[in-house]
């Protein structure tokens, strides 16, 4: 009994890294500009497709395909910011929520027409190894490693580089940052790009684990909301922690309650956390 739970816990936590990666972009964008990016799901889905085409057409290893997926996400995010978000960045929440949702509808609409909703699959299996009670898939371990690498790079970027410092300055106080000569619009566009890049990379990683279609991003978007709130909305590294918690829950819960009840618990938990601690497990700014 304990061994089964331990095995599914390990499995869940490894998956949790990927969930965390998917939520990091959402949290970063919210933290810097107070915008909830409802185009997050389609961005994840498009990341999956970039990786899929790089793998099937160019024969790229799915892990190298994270790079074109990331570049695609970065550009897509900057375009979304310029077209849809910039004009309403200072308007009430409703405007940015609806503007990004409009982008979601456009991407899903075009994506469904062009890519159809046929399930796709990146046929790339690395096999597995046995560690104690658990059988661990190399694919999942590699996905978790990729997440750690990306999170590390993001940390270095935010802490050590000039654009990263600009982003943190704009997060703290946009007006003051502008007075110091930081071009805040460009920084916001870059942030939106990086947030979308993280989403697209997450999509590319997920594509190595599960079959997907153009609508698959939606489920991860909902999970990302939950994770971002769990971790602390606005803190990308809190989101990574939130992802691990959710992954562990998803690993253990099916052993305790019927699988179909798991989403009920997840979303009730989501609402309760919003009510009880909207700043998340890590606390942080309101």
């Amino acid at each position: 009994m304990i061994e089964t739970i331990l095995a599914s816990l390990i499995d869940g936590v490894l998956l949790g890294f990927v969930y965390g990666l998917a939520a990091m972009g959402l949290a970063l964008i919210f933290g810097v500009m107070n915008v909830i990016n409802l185009a997050h799901g389609p961005t994840i889905a498009l990341g999956m497709f970039v990786s899929y085409f790089a793998f099937t057409s160019l024969g790229l290893s799915p892990y190298l395909a994270l790079i074109p997926a990331g570049v695609f996400g970065l550009l897509l995010g900057m375009v979304i910011y310029g077209v849809a978000v910039h004009r309403v960045i200072n308007a009430p929440h409703l405007s940015t929520l609806l503007a990004t949702f409009a982008v979601n509808m456009i991407l899903i609409g075009i994506g469904t027409a062009v890519l159809t909703t046929t399930p796709r699959n990146i046929d790339f299996r690395l096999g597995s190894f046995v560690a104690g009670p658990a059988t661990i898939l190399w694919n999942r371990l590699a996905a978790a490693t990729a997440t750690i690498v990306v999170a590390g790079l993001l940390y270095l970027f935010l802490q050590r580089t000039r654009p990263g410092k600009h982003i943190r300055a704009v997060t703290d106080n946009r007006a003051a940052a502008e007075l110091m000569g930081i071009p805040s619009s460009r920084v916001l566009a870059l942030t939106f790009g990086i947030g979308s890049m993280l989403a697209a990379v997450a999509g590319a990683v997920i594509a190595t684990l599960f079959p997907f279609n153009v609508l698959s991003g939606g489920g991860y978007e909902l999970k990302s909301f939950l994770i971002a709130v769990l971790g602390s909305l606005g803190n990308p590294f809190g989101a990574l922690l939130g992802g691990l918690v959710l992954g562990a829950l998803e690993g253990v819960l099916p052993g305790v309650v019927p699988t179909t009840w798991v989403p009920v618990f997840e979303f009730v938990l989501f609402v309760l956390i919003l009510l009880w601690r909207p700043t998340g497990l890590l606390g942080g700014r309101q």
Partner: protein, 322 residues
């Protein structure tokens, strides 16, 4: 007395009444189905407007009330063979009660946090109904065809549902107008502009918001009963579609949030436009993208919506369009 004579009320009631009377006069079932969809959208949009337009709270889970009300009414009709009227009352009451309880809890959140919570509520409700055995779980429930004989056969029952829907739509509009022109509505709009300042001026924000939420929940609850009675079956996927919630928001924004006539116009235009896009071979596959582009253009360039823009541009219309 002045409020009853206000032309804004008669324009807002008159247009849906005229359009709604058309199928009754022609007696054509095709027209009836077309107008039913529009009336349903007007009901959903006008009720959402009480919270979204007047109070300024973004609700992504408006469809929860539609689904839950529909489920409660449907359960009473199929399992306890209750009458349609009783089911409508129960559906409205159930949705209203949920609104009141939920409102007490989540209306403490503001801005984006509230919007996120409503998405969570929507997903939680759908996942719950999916697993709830009395409601038929993922398969849902369906009505025995015999039920319709009580209302003079299936054909007559459909006309009855249509007339009730028209009545419901006109009552929502009346309530929406009454709220907007009342002291209560003034309080709501003060909350929208600045909640803290409103509280300082004596608006009891928590209770005002809860009542706005409750009021906006009752009508979709009743509409859900009518819709699923007409369909003869109910499934979790149809009842709690996050997408429909968003479509309703688009309608409100298109017509003009915070106006009485806006959601009516927005719902009618959106449904007609959607119908045209769906039959056009060019747009059929990308109708979602077209709707998205339309929404984006409104948000970016005409945030006040059609009615808001008209009122701003032509001051004399302010007396006619409320």
């Amino acid at each position: 007395m002045n409020r009853i004579l206000h032309p804004g009320l008669w324009v807002a009631l008159g247009l849906p009444a005229l359009v709604g009377a058309w199928p009754l006069l022609t007696g054509s079932p095709a027209n009836r189905e077309l107008v039913f969809t529009i009336l349903l959208s007007v009901t959903l949009a006008s009720s959402l407007n009480i919270l979204l337009g007047y109070t300024g709270y973004v609700n992504f889970g408006h469809i929860v009330f539609f689904g839950l009300g529909g489920y409660i009414g449907f359960y009473l009709m199929s399992a306890h063979s209750a009458s349609l009227y009783l089911a409508m009352a129960a559906g409205g009451l159930g949705a209203g009660l949920l609104g009141l309880l939920l409102g007490r809890a989540i209306l403490r959140l503001r801005g984006a946090y509230f919007a996120l919570a409503t998405i969570g509520v929507n997903e939680a409700a759908r996942a719950f109904v999916n697993n709830f055995k009395p409601f038929g779980g993922p398969i849902g429930m369906s009505l025995n065809f015999q039920v319709f004989s009580e209302y003079g056969g299936a054909t007559d029952a459909l006309w009855l549902v249509y007339r009730l829907m028209l009545l419901l739509t006109l009552s929502v509009i009346l309530v929406s107008f009454a709220v907007k022109t009342s002291r209560f509505g003034l309080g709501l709009r003060a909350i929208r502009e600045n909640e803290d300042a409103a509280e300082v001026m004596g608006v009891v924000a928590p209770s005002a918001k809860s009542w706005a939420y409750t009021l906006s929940a009752i009508f979709p609850g009743i509409a859900g009963v009518l819709f699923f009675f007409k369909n003869g079956n109910v499934e979790p996927i149809d009842a709690f579609r996050l997408h429909t919630s968003i479509e309703v928001i688009v309608m409100v924004m298109l017509g003009g949030a915070g106006t009485v006539f806006g959601p009516i116009l927005g719902a009618g235009v959106y449904q007609r436009l959607r119908g045209l896009l769906l039959v056009s071979p060019v747009f059929k596959n990308i109708q979602l993208a077209v709707a998205g582009a339309l929404l984006l253009v409104i948000i970016l360039f005409v945030p006040a919506g059609v009615v808001g823009w008209l009122r701003h541009r032509f001051p004399f219309l302010r007396r006619v369009l409320e």
